[in-house]
Symmetry: C2
Subunit: 213 residues, 2 copies
DNA sequence: CGTTGTGAAGAGCTTCACAGCG
DNA sequence: CGCTGTGAAGCTCTTCACAACG
């Protein structure tokens, strides 16, 4: 198959598969069937086989998938089989928490610099990095691929502009606001309020259903 | 229209509309057309009109939508026109950052208690709340609707079990692992690594496209 | 024999196009 | 006249069902 167009939803699931497969690996599981993996991910087994088929034939008919090999294959498919260099803009509560979060390094995303425009924060050391003025971002042009925005919403676009000037390839935006970027810069939004709103909606709906009887 | 079944994707977009509409309001915009709102949200205008139609007729033909009224209507539709009581389990870096994050209160989600199973953390005060042993969660049964999990992955299921025992209605899970819960408990996952993986994939793909010519 | 890989069918979501209405 | 609300068309993604094959 090895098709060219891959659904966005497939990519999100692949990230989930990696997570679940790494738990299987930790537990000493060596082989999984699409059915077993599907149960752990709450998706349909065919879905998994189709998702994987976009990238190659990773399984063995009559047997299943070798967990270690499949982890490597999926990581390679996603492009996370190497180190990515990132910078963070906005050293507030959330920014600090992320800088101290070892998981980034463990998963191959190395945060190599931290920026903020608050003069009181500049020069401070957070998690081994000296906080620098956002205007110095351009000096890092050669070095960086992903920018992480953790500023307040009203400064997010300015942070994005600095990152774009520095030639960033992708932006992970934690600020609760839309940002605009040229087409060749990918933007992903992380906003847990959208998730909590979704909870509120579903709970409300189920409560109405109960009392509506 | 006021249909009964509402696509999951619609709910996610409604959360986005609220965000963008509140920015319009801040900027003094009083009326928006579906087209203008659509541009700001990067969606199709018909999509917006259809999404809203699931809940009622909020617009004025020939005019558009009154921003203030629409914010209220969408919030009411989502069930976020009232206060929700929440608790947080896992007072690590991320947990602390969330407890200090005023945005929760501002949006009507009041975190009324914080729990952790580490004896060194119990009794500590974080953002005005005394950290309590997770086993005491049941004492809050009457009072809580949403549980926020910010434990390490290996303790997430235990945290979830405590929350479920306490009769929680929904769980927002920040731990990078799946958790199981009965059908009447809604679970939402927040995992920014899925987003960063998605960036890595798209960047890799576009780079391959360039060099592949 | 059992599980993958995949074309075809089905479901669900998005967009179109225009009637309805202020 | 202009913009909303909506049935119908179009499209994408998911699921089924089974051939392929180790």
């Amino acid at each position: 198959m090895k098709s060219q167009y891959i659904p966005k939803a497939t990519i999100q699931r692949l990230a989930l598969y990696v997570q679940v497969l790494e738990e299987f690996k930790r537990d000493g599981v060596e082989i999984v069937s699409s059915e077993r993996l599907a149960n752990s991910c709450s998706v349909n087994p065919s879905q998994i086989r189709k998702d994987l088929a976009y990238f190659g034939e990773f399984g063995v008919r009559g047997v299943g998938y070798y967990v270690n090999d499949l982890i490597d294959s999926v990581k390679r498919s996603l492009g996370i089989d190497r180190v990515w260099k990132a910078v963070l803009v906005g050293v507030g509560n959330l920014g600090r928490a992320l800088l101290n979060h070892n998981e980034f390094k463990r998963r191959g995303f190395h945060i190599v610099a931290a920026f903020d425009c608050d003069p009181f924060k500049i020069g401070e050391e957070v998690s081994g990095l000296e906080v620098m003025c956002s205007k110095r971002l351009r000096e890092f042009s050669q070095d960086i691929e992903i920018g992480i925005i953790t500023t307040p919403p009203d400064r997010a676009q300015r942070a994005a502009n600095h990152l774009i000037d520095a030639g960033i390839a992708g932006i992970l935006n934690f600020a609760p606001t839309r940002i605009t970027a040229p087409d060749n810069v990918f933007v992903e939004y992380v906003d847990f309020f959208h998730h909590i709103y979704s909870l509120a909606f579903n709970i409300t709906l189920s409560q109405n259903k109960e009392s509506g009887n």
